[in-house]
Every structure is written in structure tokens, then in C-alpha cells.
């Protein structure tokens, strides 16, 4: 955590802190020992819930901690999208075009290599075909849209009754259509849907970045911790973190956190920790029974974390089954 590294921008929207850049995720995990929760669908592995991808959503405790130690700042994400200027959009479009062209060139050489006959296609023919496809595309797109509407109340007679088949083969798309006059075959090319906004030229967070919880609170984008119980959670979280533990969500194991002796990628948690917001917050013996009982089956102890808001201090009691009785 050298001082020359820039603070990590946490993208805040709807009072949730997201991390979209993988380098930031790596820094947060490897340097700051915070895990967050990956919550997005992994492209190409989109039919499962076991491995998930960006964005990483931080627990509010984690975000508050990172801001507290100066490792991160809070960015009002919706406010960072400025209206792009025409030149910005042109540059963006040109970039897309370049990518398409590169792919096309690459593919053409590949096709050429494969097609030993090497039948050349004149530029003129290519252009004509392109135009044909253009027309086809427009029709197909309209048709596909109509079909996708699928039997909207047919009061509107603009479209013919729908057909179940939806996969309309279409050969082009809006971005490609702008490739007027390019050396491009009708081979498919790859479109990238960007995850992070930081590469967008018109994404500018300079006027909506907050370095403290307080300033972010004033700006109305962040308000954690606000209550005693949230302060207690933050206090406990930070205290455990300072002692070198990693934390994960513990709601399924009867606490606020799971506490790991090292990175959860490699180590089992030792504790489920529950936060008691004050020394006098009520604690029912049944809770001790349940926590102790749950622990015996999962090889975890339970950690009662008593927060003292006056002293800003945490005390701990560890709970385990006694082994008799």
C-alpha cells in the first residue's frame, strides 16, 4: 500500500459499491485482503451460478473500510457518464471499425489460406453483395423484431401474425453497416460488449468522486454506517481485518461474517462471527446452543463479537460445544 498508488475508485450506484476493473479487484483482494462478492454472469459460462464474474460487489463494511484507510474513493457512477460529444463518438466508432477491419483482414487471410483455389472477389462484387445484405438485414431486423413481439394483441395490424421461430439468420448489424467501403467480407466478426466504463472517453468522474464517507454522505450517494448496529458491524469487521483475518458473508452460518485465517480461496473459515451491538444487547441462551451446535458440524467455532460504541472497542468470546452433557 505505497502512497504512490492511486486510490481505487468504487463505483457507487443505488448505495451499492461496485468494482468493475479486474486490476482493482486484484488489488483489493491481494493487497487489502478483502473479497467482496462476485455477482455478474461470466461470459461464456453463463448457465451456472458456481463461478461468477464482474462486477464485484463489496459489503458496505468493506467499502467503508477501504475509504477509511484511504485506499479507495467513492464515485457517483451515474453522474460520471457525460453526454458524449460528436468527436468522441466518432473516435469510438472508428475504434470499433478498426477492430472489425482487423478481424476481417485476419479472417480473409485465413479463408484465403483454406480456400486453396484462391478465387478472388472483386471489390465491386463485394460492394454489391454488401448492399444486398444491407437490404436483407433491414428487412430481417424488422421481421425479427416483429416476431419477438410475439402475438401482441393484434389490434395493431402493422405486422403479420407472429411465428414461433425467432432465430432469424441475419448477416449484418448496425455497427457493421457503417463499414462503408471497407475491405470486409461477410464473415462474422466479433463484437465486444465492454464491462467497465473506465475506457469510455466520456466517462469522467472527476467532479463526482468522494474521498471520505462524510463527503459521500453529503452528496447523497452513500450512508453506511448510519446506525448503531451498522457502526458495530463496521467496528467488528475492521478489528478482525486488522488482525489479519479474511471475512465473508455469514448469514447462512448464523452470523454476520465467516472469519477465515487466510484467503478463502485456500482456507476454511474458523469462525462464524455474530456482532452484538452493545454490551447490554440481549443474548438468549438458545443462541449459544444454536451457534455451538452449528459449529460442531461444520468444524467452526462461533465468535461472539461484543461492540462497545462508547469505547469503540470489540471484545470476543469463542463458543464451542463442551464435548459432554
Amino acid at each position: 500500500m505505497s502512497s504512490d498508488t492511486l486510490p481505487i475508485p468504487l463505483r457507487v450506484s443505488n448505495k451499492t459499491a461496485y468494482v468493475w476493473d479486474v486490476d482493482d479487484i486484484a488489488t483489493i483482494r491481494s493487497q487489502h485482503r478483502l473479497c467482496g462478492v462476485l455477482t455478474g454472469t461470466l461470459p461464456h459460462l453463463s448457465q451456472q451460478n458456481v463461478f461468477l464474474g464482474v462486477p464485484l460487489i463489496l459489503f458496505p463494511e468493506e467499502a467503508a473500510l477501504l475509504v477509511d484507510i484511504g485506499a479507495a474513493v467513492l464515485v457517483d457512477d451515474p453522474a460520471a457518464y457525460k453526454q458524449p460529444t460528436v468527436p468522441q463518438l466518432e473516435r469510438w466508432s472508428a475504434e470499433q471499425q478498426e477492430s472489425v477491419n482487423t478481424q476481417a483482414t485476419y479472417n480473409e487471410t485465413k479463408v484465403a489460406k483454406e480456400n486453396q483455389s484462391g478465387r478472388a472477389i472483386s471489390e465491386e462484387a463485394l460492394r454489391k453483395r454488401k448492399e444486398r445484405e444491407e437490404r436483407k438485414r433491414t428487412q430481417a431486423a424488422a421481421k425479427a423484431a416483429a416476431e419477438a413481439l410475439e402475438g401482441g394483441t393484434s389490434a395493431d395490424a402493422l405486422f403479420a401474425p407472429t411465428e414461433p421461430q425467432l432465430q432469424t439468420p441475419s448477416v449484418s448489424d448496425p455497427t457493421s453497416s457503417s463499414a462503408e467501403g471497407s475491405k470486409k467480407s461477410n464473415l462474422p466478426y466479433t463484437i465486444v460488449i465492454p464491462a467497465s466504463s473506465s475506457s469510455l472517453e466520456w466517462y469522467d468522474a472527476s467532479d463526482c468522486t468522494y474521498a471520505t464517507i462524510e463527503s459521500a454522505r453529503k452528496a447523497g450517494i452513500w450512508d453506511y454506517p448510519a446506525t448503531l448496529s451498522e457502526r458495530a458491524r463496521c467496528g467488528v469487521f475492521k478489528d478482525l481485518w486488522k488482525q489479519g483475518y479474511f471475512m465473508g458473508g455469514g448469514i447462512k452460518f448464523g452470523g454476520e461474517y465467516l472469519v477465515y485465517p487466510g484467503d478463502p480461496l485456500r482456507y476454511h473459515s474458523h469462525f462464524a462471527a455474530s456482532v452484538l451491538e452493545s454490551p447490554l444487547a440481549s443474548l438468549h441462551p438458545m443462541e449459544i446452543v444454536a451457534h455451538g451446535r452449528l459449529g460442531t458440524a461444520t468444524k467452526k467455532a462461533h465468535l461472539l463479537c461484543g461492540w462497545d460504541d462508547d469505547k469503540q472497542e470489540v471484545s470476543y468470546l469463542s463458543v464451542e460445544w463442551a464435548g459432554f452433557g
Binding site: A26, H44, A94, G152, S197, R266
Partner: protein, 461 residues
Amino acid sequence: MDDSLEKPSSLFPKTPLTDEAPEDDEQLSDEEDGGLDWTKLLPPSARPIIPRRGEKEFEPRSGGGTNLQLHVLDRSRLAMFDTLRATRTISSKAVSYAVWHPDISRSHVTVARGIHFSNMGHSAPRSVQGEDGTSKMQRRLELLPEEAIYLIERGSVFCWKKSDLEFGELPGLSDVSGTPMTVQQAFSEMIGKEDLTIEKFQVYAYLKRLGYVVTRTDPPDSYYPIPPNLSVSKTTPIMQRIKTLFASWMSTLVQAVAPAFNWWKPVSLSHWLHHDKKYLSLFQSMRFIPSGHSTLPTIQSNVTTPYRIFYNVYKPSTPFKKSAPPPPDFQLVVVNARTAPMPSLQELSDLFDILPEAPLPTPRQRRPPTCAANNAPATPPTRETPARIASSPLAEKSLVRRMFPWLFFATPPAPPMPARRPNPFMALKSGKKIVIVAAVDSSNTSFFRFSQGEFTEWPMV
């Protein structure tokens, strides 16, 4: 056994991971978060020996771990980060396009490709400017915020944000319909619209990734197709009237006889009557504590509740027609676990009130006898038929009956269709009306199923 130390690449294996993800959810969600072996996702060439899932160590050796421990950890992290770096790419021949209209919280699908649209999006008439300057109504395909985000983040839709900029004149931008959006921007702008919270989106995406069809329960606009008479349930008006009549008649009757019930001596077995001298009668005569969901007294309830059914969920196997959705397989409430405790009895009752009754669980193996002595219907008994509710003395037990069962001894309540009785434990554990609650605590989702218990209908004696 050799670790090639090859740097894992971001390429994906062509292994059947996509189809056959390790989806043992029970074990999975028992599994602690982050306890995944990302090295599994590496292409085979880069794959060193792969420890079995869940084979984590107890703790790092003092000082952060041994060299080996640090090495293995680094490798796991690298694999994870490399996987996360994979970009969303899609062929130009498969991609769909949409335009996000923040003013109406909808994304207009301009190019629809792929199977997703057979159960996502709905058609809405919108006025469009014709070329001659006149406006006319035109139906178009629109996505709700959660549908749009989901399709964008899985890399199926490229989304533009509607813009007032004039692009048409510009070379190279003729077909651009607005400003291009990232996944990040979709999360940022679309969540918070049309009642969508991050929790609801997470639950939506979770179910979609498993292949479920998920629709809104309350139509967000008048064009949104919903299943027919979903919120019926309860009983038909006629049944209601019969019940009321019956109840009032019974209560008059009971008032005439009731003083005979001695609360100081609730059970009095006749020394002479035959049917009294059995444990069955003894137990029956003790069943006078009011019970069951129909007896719920009015509970003075408070303010607003987060417990409203939000999603209708259809199994992947359920035939689904977008324009005429069938009754859902499950109905789901999504709450933020940090702000909402579990539902109160009143909240549960309000949910149960609008839910249909689930059919009795069918016995695992045993088929019903082909010819029953009584004139039972040939179909397995479902609780949906009001006829059964009316005819079964057990099901339709008034408060009066519950309180003074001894009045009814003349007609001992024989269990209906004993041959068909499913395993009572299955019926008890499954319950009548079912609601699913997804409680999301900072991205950790727990799904719980709450159902109406009917222990009174399934006595053990």
C-alpha cells in the same frame, strides 16, 4: 504431478462446463463463499493438478503461509483474475441490439436474435414519428430493466442509450442509435428503475442462469402479459356462502348445546359407549384447541411490508408461451436481508391468501389401487378441487367443530380415501400453500420456502 508453472490464459476450455456446471447447490451454498477452485476453469494445457473441490487447508502456517501455500494461493488467485478478465464477445451474426429509454424504463429491442426472446421482453405500442412527420402507433419489443441487464451482462445484447444527438449526418455513425453502453452503465442506470433493486436483479439473474423463466407478478404496464386469473384462489363465492351458512347454523346449534362442555373436565369418556373406549376416540375428544390457518384471528397489523410477490418463476421444463403465460411453478418474494426480518405471521397469511393451493405431494412409488371401494375420483386427489374441500369433513372443519369435536361423534370423521392417503409426513412437510422468499444479504442469497402446515388434517392417531 508436475506443475508446469504455465501462466494461465484467459481462454476458456471447450470443456462442457457451460452445460454441466457443478451445480450441486446444496453443497454449494453450504460451501463458503469464495471457496471455489478457479484453476478448474483453466484450459487443460494450463491445468496443473487440480485439487478436489473444497480441498482447502485449515490455516496458513504462521507468517502468512509456507512457500508452497503462498505459491498455491497465487496460482488460485491468478486463475481467478484471468477468468474475470475474459471479455464479453459475441459474433456479429448472433448479437441483438437494444436502445435504453430511461424516460420509460424500457429497452427497445431493435434487432432480436437468439432464443432468449421466446420468453423475455414484451410488446408495447409506442407512438413513432413516420417519415412524413405524422405519428402513429407501432408495436415494438421492449425489455424490462432486469431483462436488459441480464442480456447485456451475459453478452447477448449490445445496448445503446437513447440520445438526442443528431448522428444521422455524420459519416460512420449512420446507424448508431444513441450512445453505446457498458455493462457497468446498465447496472448503474437500470437498477432502481421500475421497482428493480440490486437484490431483485441478483435473484433474477441467478434463476435465469439456471434456465428458469422469470416474469413479473404485478404487470409493470398494461401491455405486460400475465397468467390468467392468478390471484383467484380462496373459495368460490358459492362455496363461501355455503360455508358461512353452515358455520352460522352450527354456531346456533352449538350455543344450545355448548354449556355441556365443561372446561374443568374437558374429556369425559362414557363408561358404556363402545366407540369411546378406544385411543382414537380419546385423542379425538382432546382436539379442542382452535387450530389451522383458517382460524387466524384478525391481527392488528402495521405499516408497509416488503413482502409482496415480485416474480413468477417457471421451471425450464414448463411449456411457456410469452403472450399467454401459464400459471407459474413458484412465486417469489425478494427482500433485502439486512433491512427486512423474516415475514411475520400476518405477512405470511397475506401472501398465502393470494396463493393457489399446491397439489398434495404424490407418493414416491406406490400407485393408487386401480379400483377403490368407495367412489373416489380416478385422478389423484388434488386440493384444488373445491368439491373435495366441501365434501371432506376433515378439510372443512369449522372453528366450532375444532372446539367441540365431541358433537360430531355421530359421524366419525373417517379419513377420506384411506387407500390414497399419501405418506402423512410428506404432506406435513410439504404444506398447502407455498411461497418462496429470497433473502439477499449483500449478494448472499438464501432461498426459503414457507408453506402452510396442516397438522390438524394429518393426525398421527
